[in-house]
Amino acid sequence: MTELRVLSPTAILGYGFPLASFQAGLERNPHVIAVDAGSTDPGPYYLGSGESFTQRSAVKRDLRYMIDAALQRKIPLIIGTAGGSGAKPHVDWNLAIIEEILVELKKEAQIAVIYSDIDRDILLQELKNGRVKPLGPVAELTEEDILASTNIVAQMGLEPIMEAIEKGAEIIVSGRAYDPTVFAALPVLKGFDMALALHMGKILECAAIAANPGSGSDCLMGTIGADSFILETLNSERECTRLSVAAHTLYEKSDPYSLPGPGGTLDLHGTTFEQLPGGRVRVAGTKFVPTDGYFLKLEGASLLGYRTISIAGVRDPIMISQIDEIIERVKDRVADNFQDLKDYQLHVHCYGKNGVMGELEPHPAPGHELGLVIEAVAPTQEIADTICSFARSTMLHYGYPGRKATAGNLAFPYSPSDVSAGAVYKFSIYHLLQVDDPKSLFPVKMGRSGL
């Protein structure tokens, strides 16, 4: 095999793609269709709660075309970080969608499922063994963090996915996976250079975001050869340019020259980006530098409590000039009134002043009107409702110095004014775990599904 073609239909499973682009991709006879479904960008709620950040019907729409095409053409379909966060509830959610599609298509498929959940007891033991370390500006992991986390996943490398391909899977549904793996697994299995395959995957995982104009909901095709890979769009409205592909290397990373992943780091110091005719770009020269020891990235989230919010506007300039002081006095009143309730957090976002940047805002000068979001987070929804309600009514009638508008301080757009927003999670684990075997934590389960 001298070249291998990988079709990436969309940046995130469920973000969609034009059918014409997908068809153009199929006409180039790809050897695999691969799609990344995951991101930590939408925040800790989704990993913590087990819910997907993408909508079921949108995921089903995308998958239906991919499954139909992959089965017809007898090429594997590989899904990375199923359900958005890749924990068992996410993977099972995605499996149910696939089962439904197969029944509707009246087809059957050999499915590999690779869960990525990390057992708490194993992780507690590994913590004791000194095999866990923080990733970036993160505190050391504690036993409490592990016990409090509702879901803990590790990002798998290439190895479990390669095993699933070798076992003959037609559809591979993987839990949390290092983004490039689903694109790189088949090329590496077929003997292509791992550094190039992973770098190609790093770009394909965002599909046409790396094109100009960029789009998160359009396809991108990668073709890997002996010493380079080529990227091309499948839509005449956009093209890959040397700059658009190079620039994409910056996206959502801290260091574009050094991209760490399971088992090693992609080194881009010698990488070249070459413009080819027809809106294509050739990339070469990327190296893979193995780390001393094989490290997996762990992610976990834990329940912080329950949230209630109230949205209100302020137009009175006398009140606006004292807003920080008024917020502090309202917090004091709430604390004084509910002295037995210690475990709540009360925060007031102040849009029009520093609502977007918080403490990073260098110019917190208020505008002529402010939008306030009064936010209470507490161990139960009832307590959060109570705190938010009391803070809201206290602020509504708070008698600040010099007040002329004595009928009420806040403009509410809604009745009811308060919204119970449900569970709140936080990231509790963002660490590296050293393992001896890249596969032992990611068993590949095979089974038939459909009809």
Partner: protein
């Protein structure tokens, strides 16, 4: 003294994982990039955001994209209590005051 924003094609912010915030400044040509890149320092960035210099983790020059990348510690992990911008996509504007 000129403003970097007047010659940059792109000035953007985004999470680089839940604990870091990264800024990309891209320039239209190698010439502009080379003229501007060394004027972007940790000291200036720390001053613009009113944060300690140690919170500016790195400033990296990436010639293939005519880009300078700045990474700082997030004020709090994405989505934690007090969060204002879960994706970190609107934290870039103080960089409009960068000069060279």
């Amino acid at each position: 003294m000129r403003y970097v924003k007047d010659v940059a094609l792109v000035i953007r912010s985004k999470n680089a994982g839940p604990y870091e915030l990264t800024f990309d400044l891209m320039f239209p040509s190698a010439e502009v990039y080379n003229e501007v890149k060394d004027a972007i320092t940790k000291e200036k960035v720390a001053a613009l955001y009113k944060i300690e210099e140690s919170k500016v983790l790195s400033i990296i020059h990436f010639a293939p994209a005519h880009a300078v990348k700045i990474t700082i510690v997030r004020p709090r992990p994405s989505g934690d209590l007090g969060e204002t911008d879960v994706y970190g996509a609107q934290q870039h504007t103080p960089l409009f005051e960068l000069t060279y």
